[in-house]
């Protein structure tokens, strides 16, 4: 069954306010912001949906991982894709070509396959949205770098080994890299490619 769900009730205002929240999150990595203008297209969570609706269009190939369906058993990824295509005109794409990609926190992602930019155009790296299972579980990380006054300690949920590995010991060298937006329900926490992430050993 294919039903198109409504998008933002006020597209201009809501996409602006969502963008400002994403801007706040990315310019201050580790700071949690709330996006509360839309409930989301299941199985995508509210914050991931709002980020895509405010930033994506026909110029941004989008990848939605089939593994997201495990989070919400009833909804299929095709349904979310259809809604996004209707509202933003984005085209589905393979992971390797995507400008925006959404994956599940438990998924093993081969990060080396994602676009990381080139030396002369590092901005063409993928923006990776990771749907997390909460910012109050999982290992603790210490973040330092631009946007962080001294340091910040955060929990990012139960991330897969490959995601943790990428955060702590990226396979890309700055300025190349992938910017990660972690989404949980209405919450968003970003890790920029400039952020230095250290795993705090368990006591």
């Amino acid at each position: 069954m294919s039903i198109i769900a409504p998008g933002f009730s006020q597209p201009v205002e809501h996409s602006q306010s969502c963008f400002r929240q994403v801007l706040k999150a990315l310019s201050e990595p580790g700071h949690i912001v709330t996006l509360d203008k839309h409930l989301g297209f299941a199985p995508l969570c509210a914050s991931a949906t709002q980020i895509l609706m405010s930033l994506c269009d026909q110029h941004t190939p989008l990848y939605l991982s089939p593994r997201l369906e495990e989070i919400d058993g009833d909804a299929t990824i095709n349904q979310a894709q259809r809604n996004l295509t209707f509202h933003c005109n984005t085209k589905p794409s393979a992971l390797v070509n995507a400008d925006f990609a959404v994956v599940s926190h438990s998924e093993g992602v081969n990060m080396a396959r994602l676009k990381c930019g080139t030396d002369t155009s590092p901005e063409s790296g993928t923006t990776l949205l990771v749907q997390s299972n909460g910012f109050d579980c999982g290992p603790e990380f210490k973040l330092t770098g631009p946007g962080i006054e001294h340091s910040r300690t955060v929990q990012l949920g139960n991330l897969s080994q490959s995601l943790v590995e990428y955060l702590v010991n990226s396979c890309h060298t700055y300025p190349l890299g992938i910017d990660i937006l972690l989404c949980h329900q209405q919450q968003l926490l970003a890790i920029s490619r400039t952020t230095k992430v250290e795993l705090i050993p368990c006591m």
């Binding site: 996409s15 602006q16 310019s27 201050e28 590092p122 901005e123 770098g145 006054e149 400039t194």
Partner: protein
């Protein structure tokens, strides 16, 4: 159908432009460029600049950035060389008051977004404020290497020796680094950046700033950003460390000894005075002085 049109016109006041003048597609493209710019502090992200209803050189880059970030709740301030009351500042403020119907102010503390031409306000900015710079020439290496293909390569290799040589030539010629505005900086230890033609007096304010800083060049179609709490270092030499301008006398109006002063000719005999370039700061100091005087009789 007629009733629908009537309801529509009753609820929507006369509105000829989209909120913020730009269309949504353009805003999205600029917003994506801003986000990548934030992830790459100091790196110039190319974007599809649009024709604005004013000529290049009037701050179209800053205006496109402001139009993409401003919302209904923002309070907007515009300064031109520190002043709120000059032509450029007044016209841009009126433009946004017209196309966004938002509140404008001249007070630095009240503003949530400040668009600026060639100055950073004297009053320290807060973390919830955004500073938008108008940039004429974004490429710091442009006068050393005119070819864009080469400067792109120099940025990708971090090959910035020629800029050090330019500063060294200053020392050989004048005995000190004579560059006093658009003084080159290294951002996050990686990218060489032109801070737009702000006086070098303002360079230290960018280092570990509380506020997010966005730079927009309309003609050259480049956006670059400095997130808050980022290292911004002005280039210098061990034996010629970076230093800022100093003045012999305080501001003639408010007596401030710490602000950036403009030289103003006051008569045909060549008499001159030095006054704060930041008008809002100067007025604030004057009000403070008056209050103190009233208190002490």
């Amino acid at each position: 159908m007629q009733s629908f049109n009537q309801t529509f016109s009753a609820t929507e006041p006369e509105q000829d432009y989209n909120f913020g003048y730009l269309d949504e597609q353009t805003k999205r493209m600029i917003r994506r460029a801003i986000l990548k710019g934030v992830a790459l502090p100091g790196y110039q992200v190319a974007f599809g600049g649009r024709e604005m209803p004013m000529p290049y050189g009037w701050g179209t880059g800053g205006i496109m950035l402001s139009a993409s970030i401003l919302g209904q709740d923002d309070v907007f301030k515009v300064i031109d060389q520190g002043a709120d009351d000059t032509t450029n500042a007044v016209s841009i403020r009126q433009f946004f008051a017209k196309v966004c119907h938002l509140e404008t102010t001249t007070e630095t503390a009240k503003a949530s977004v400040i668009q600026t031409r060639h100055r950073i306000p004297e009053q320290p900015l807060r973390n919830d404020q955004i500073l938008v710079f108008q940039v004429p020439i974004p490429e710091p290496l442009r006068f050393i290497e005119p070819r864009e293909t080469e400067t792109k390569k120099m940025h990708s290799l971090g090959e910035y020796g020629s800029m050090q040589v330019k500063l060294y030539e200053d020392i050989v010629k004048y005995g000190y680094i004579a560059t006093s505005y658009a003084y080159p900086v290294m951002v996050h230890g990686r990218y060489l950046m032109d801070p737009s033609p702000i006086p070098k007096f303002d360079n230290p304010k960018m280092h570990q700033s509380n506020a997010l800083m966005l730079f927009g060049a309309g003609r050259e179609k480049r956006i670059y950003c400095i997130p808050p709490y980022t290292d911004v270092a002005s280039l210098d030499f061990e034996d010629h460390p970076f230093s800022i301008q100093q003045w012999q006398a305080p501001c003639s109006l408010c007596g401030s000894e710490t602000s950036f002063l403009d030289e103003v000719l006051i008569d045909d005999q060549g008499q001159r005075m030095f006054v704060c370039s930041d008008t809002d700061y100067c007025q604030g100091q004057l009000a403070k002085n008056a209050a103190e005087e009233a208190l002490h009789g």
